[in-house]
C-alpha cells in the first residue's frame, strides 16, 4: 500500500517498456507518497475503487482518491444531480457517502489488496468533525494521505464554507494536523480572492501538499419550468471547459508554495496533463474524463511517458514547473 506498492508499480512500468531500454522514470513523491507515476483518479469520479476495477487496472495508477467521506453516512442531494454543459459537466451529488466506518469495513480491504496509494477525501460539517474523521483514519492501515475537501460547492454545511476564508481554512488545517500523522492535502476551491495567499496559508498551517481545483460553482436553468436543472440549484462545473481556469490557478499556487501541488480540472489527454505539470503540478488527477473513457488516466500516463522521453528527460520530475514566463 502507499509507498509499499511502489516497487511493484515500477516493475510493471519497466515491463511495459520492456522493448525500450530507456523508459523514463515516471515516479513522483507527493506529500511523502511515492507514486509510480503522476496520474491519479480524482475524488468523486471513481467511487471507492471497485466500480472501475474491471475496466481499468487500478495498479497502474499513480494513486486513487476516493469519494468524500464523512463521520456518518450522508445522503447527498435529491436527483437530478447532473447536467451536461458546453465542454463540461455540472454536478451536485452533495457528497453522498456511506460514512467512515462502512467505508473502512467495506472498501478498505479491497483497496488494500491493490498496490496503488489510496488518498481518502474527507470532510466534516464542523471543524471538530474534520478532526474526528482524520483521527479515525490515522489508525487505518493502507491509507497514504488524507485530502481535505474544503471546496465542495454542493452542500449547505461543511465543504466550501471552510474553504473560502483563508483564516478559517488555516485554523481547520492546523486542527486536523494535530489529529493525524497522515499526510494532509487540502483541496482548494477555484473561487478564491487570491489562490497564492490561500496556498501559502495552507502550507504554513501544516499541509503536506495541496490539490486543486475543485469544481466551479455554477448553475443551469430550465427555462420552461424556470427552475434550476439541479435539485440543489447550484452545482460544480468540471471537465474540459474549466481546464484553462485550473491551469492558471495551479500555476499561481505552485509559484507561491514549496509543498507539492496536485493539479486537476478538465484533463482528458497527456497534453492536458502536461500543461499542469509544466505549470508546476507534481501530480495530476483525472476526473470527469473517466466517464467518457474509463481508460483516460492510463492513456494519460502513456502520453506523459512518451513526451518525457521525446523531450529527452530521464524523469518526469524534470518537467515540473518548467513554464517559461
Amino acid at each position: 500500500m502507499g509507498g509499499g506498492g511502489f516497487k511493484k508499480g515500477k516493475h510493471e512500468l519497466t515491463r511495459m517498456n520492456a522493448n525500450n531500454t530507456k523508459a523514463p522514470d515516471l515516479a513522483v513523491t507527493v506529500a511523502g507518497i511515492r507514486m509510480k507515476n503522476p496520474v491519479m483518479l480524482a475524488s468523486g469520479t471513481c467511487g471507492y475503487g471497485p466500480e472501475y476495477a474491471d475496466l481499468i487496472d487500478l495498479n497502474a495508477l499513480g494513486a486513487i482518491a476516493v469519494k468524500g467521506i464523512l463521520s456518518i453516512p450522508w445522503e447527498g442531494n435529491p436527483a437530478p444531480r447532473l447536467v451536461e454543459t458546453p465542454g463540461g459537466l455540472l454536478n451536485a451529488i452533495g457528497l453522498q457517502n456511506p460514512g467512515m466506518e462502512k467505508f473502512i469495513a467495506e472498501y478498505m480491504p479491497f483497496l488494500r489488496r491493490h498496490k496503488t496509494p489510496v488518498i481518502v477525501n474527507i470532510w466534516g460539517r464542523s471543524m471538530e468533525e474534520y478532526g474526528e474523521v482524520a483521527a479515525r483514519f490515522d489508525d487505518v492501515e493502507g491509507i497514504a494521505a488524507l485530502e481535505l475537501n474544503i471546496s465542495c460547492p454542493n452542500i449547505k454545511a461543511g465543504g466550501i464554507e471552510f474553504g473560502t476564508d483563508p483564516n478559517i481554512a488555516g485554523e481547520l488545517i492546523r486542527l486536523v494536523r494535530k489529529r493525524t500523522r497522515l499526510p494532509l492535502i487540502p483541496k482548494l476551491s477555484p473561487m478564491l480572492h487570491s489562490i497564492a495567499q490561500f496556498a501559502r496559508i495552507a502550507e504554513e498551517s501544516g499541509a503536506d501538499a495541496i490539490s486543486l481545483i475543485n469544481s466551479v460553482p455554477s448553475m443551469v436553468i430550465d427555462i420552461e419550468s424556470r427552475r434550476p436543472v439541479l435539485s440543489n440549484g447550484v452545482g460544480g462545473l468540471t471537465g474540459p471547459a474549466i481546464r484553462p481556469i485550473a491551469v492558471r490557478l495551479v500555476w499561481q499556487a505552485a509559484k507561491a508554495v514549496k509543498i507539492p501541488v496536485i493539479g486537476m480540472g478538465g484533463i482528458a489527454c497527456g497534453r492536458d496533463a502536461l500543461e499542469f505539470l509544466i505549470a508546476g503540478a507534481r501530480a495530476v488527477a483525472v476526473g470527469t474524463a473517466t466517464f467518457l473513457d474509463p481508460g483516460t488516466a492510463l492513456r494519460v500516463v502513456e502520453e506523459i511517458e512518451a513526451y518525457v522521453k521525446r523531450q529527452g528527460h530521464a524523469s518526469v520530475n524534470e518537467i515540473v514547473g518548467t513554464l517559461q514566463f
Binding site: T45, G47, E75, R81, G87, L292
Partner: protein
C-alpha cells in the same frame, strides 16, 4: 460482467415514429446482454462533450447488438449521421434488467416511447406471451407491435389522437383492461418502461392491487457504472429504510415496491 467494446455500425435505418435503429457488431456485449440492460455509448464526433449517452438494448443476437433511438439533442443528432462502418465505443451491458426467470407468471408489459425497445427484447426471453400495452401520441409512434404479435402476445395500442387503437393515454387503456377483468383472474406481473408519469401510475396500481411490477427508470447518467452517484432514485429496503439507489447499477429496473416517489406524484397517479 461488463465490457468496453469498439463496435462497428453494421445497419442504421429508420424505424418509424421518428426513431432510428442501429445494429452494432459488438460480440462481447451481445453475448451477455439481458432485457432491461443498457449500453453507454460514446459518440465519437462529440469531441467536446463530457458524457456518454445511455440507450436500452433492443436486441442482442449472435454478434449483433441493437439499439433504437430518437434524435432529440446534440448527441443523438450526431448519431443520426452514423454510417455503416463507423466505430462507436460501447460500455455494457449495464445495470440490472428485468427478471426473465419467474415461472408461471402472467406477464403484462406497458410501454411508452423508447420503452417498447427493452420490453420487446424481454418478450423474446420470457417463457410465455402475455398482454402488451403500447402508447404514443399518434399512429406512427406505435412501434414494435409485430415483435410482440409474432410471439403470440395480445397487443393493445393507445394513441392520444386516437389515430390507431384506443384513444387516450396508455395508462387509461391499461386501467380499462384491468377494470374489465373477471374477478379472481390471475394477477398480472407488470413490466414497464416509459415516461416517469407512467411509473407513478403503475407503482400506484401495483400497490393498490398487490401486484408485482418491474419498472425501468430513466435518469441522466454520468459514469453509467456506479461511480459518480448521479443517477439516483429514492428506494426503501425490506425494513422500510430509505436510501438512494443508482439507476445505472441497482437499476434501471426496480421492483415497484422499493420505489419511493413524491407524495404529490403518487396522489396525482391515483386519480388518473
Amino acid at each position: 460482467m461488463r465490457l468496453m467494446e469498439e463496435a462497428r455500425v453494421i445497419v442504421h435505418t429508420e424505424f418509424g415514429g421518428g426513431y432510428r435503429r442501429i445494429v452494432f457488431d459488438a460480440p462481447g456485449i451481445a453475448a451477455i446482454a439481458a432485457p432491461g440492460q443498457f449500453v453507454h455509448i460514446r459518440i465519437p464526433q462529440l469531441s467536446q462533450e463530457a458524457l456518454r449517452r445511455p440507450f436500452s438494448i433492443y436486441r442482442s443476437k449472435g454478434r449483433e447488438l441493437q439499439v433504437m433511438y430518437k434524435p432529440v439533442g446534440r448527441g443523438t443528432h450526431v448519431m443520426e449521421h452514423a454510417v455503416v462502418g463507423d466505430v462507436y465505443s460501447l460500455l455494457g451491458p449495464l445495470g440490472r434488467g428485468f427478471p426473465v426467470d419467474r415461472a408461471g407468471i402472467f406477464p403484462v408489459c406497458v410501454a411508452g416511447g423508447y420503452g417498447v425497445a427493452p420490453l420487446s427484447f424481454l418478450a423474446e426471453k420470457l417463457e410465455c406471451p402475455g398482454v402488451v400495452f403500447i402508447g404514443g401520441r399518434k399512429a406512427q409512434d406505435i412501434l414494435c407491435t409485430e415483435d410482440f404479435a409474432g410471439l403470440g402476445w395480445d397487443v393493445r395500442v393507445a394513441t392520444e389522437d386516437g389515430s390507431v387503437g384506443e384513444k387516450g393515454l396508455v395508462t387509461e387503456a391499461f386501467d380499462r383492461w384491468v377494470a374489465a377483468r373477471a374477478p379472481g383472474a390471475m394477477a398480472p406481473e407488470i413490466y414497464a418502461c416509459g415516461p416517469e408519469r407512467l411509473m407513478h401510475v403503475l407503482t400506484e396500481r401495483a400497490a393498490r392491487h398487490g401486484w408485482q411490477a418491474w419498472l425501468s427508470l430513466d435518469r441522466p447518467m454520468g459514469c453509467g457504472i456506479g461511480a459518480c452517484l448521479a443517477c439516483v432514485q429514492r428506494v426503501r429496503d425490506a425494513n422500510g429504510k430509505q436510501h438512494w439507489a443508482r439507476c445505472c447499477t441497482e437499476g434501471p429496473v426496480f421492483d415497484s415496491k422499493e420505489l419511493v416517489w413524491e407524495a404529490a406524484d403518487l396522489k396525482k397517479a391515483s386519480t388518473n
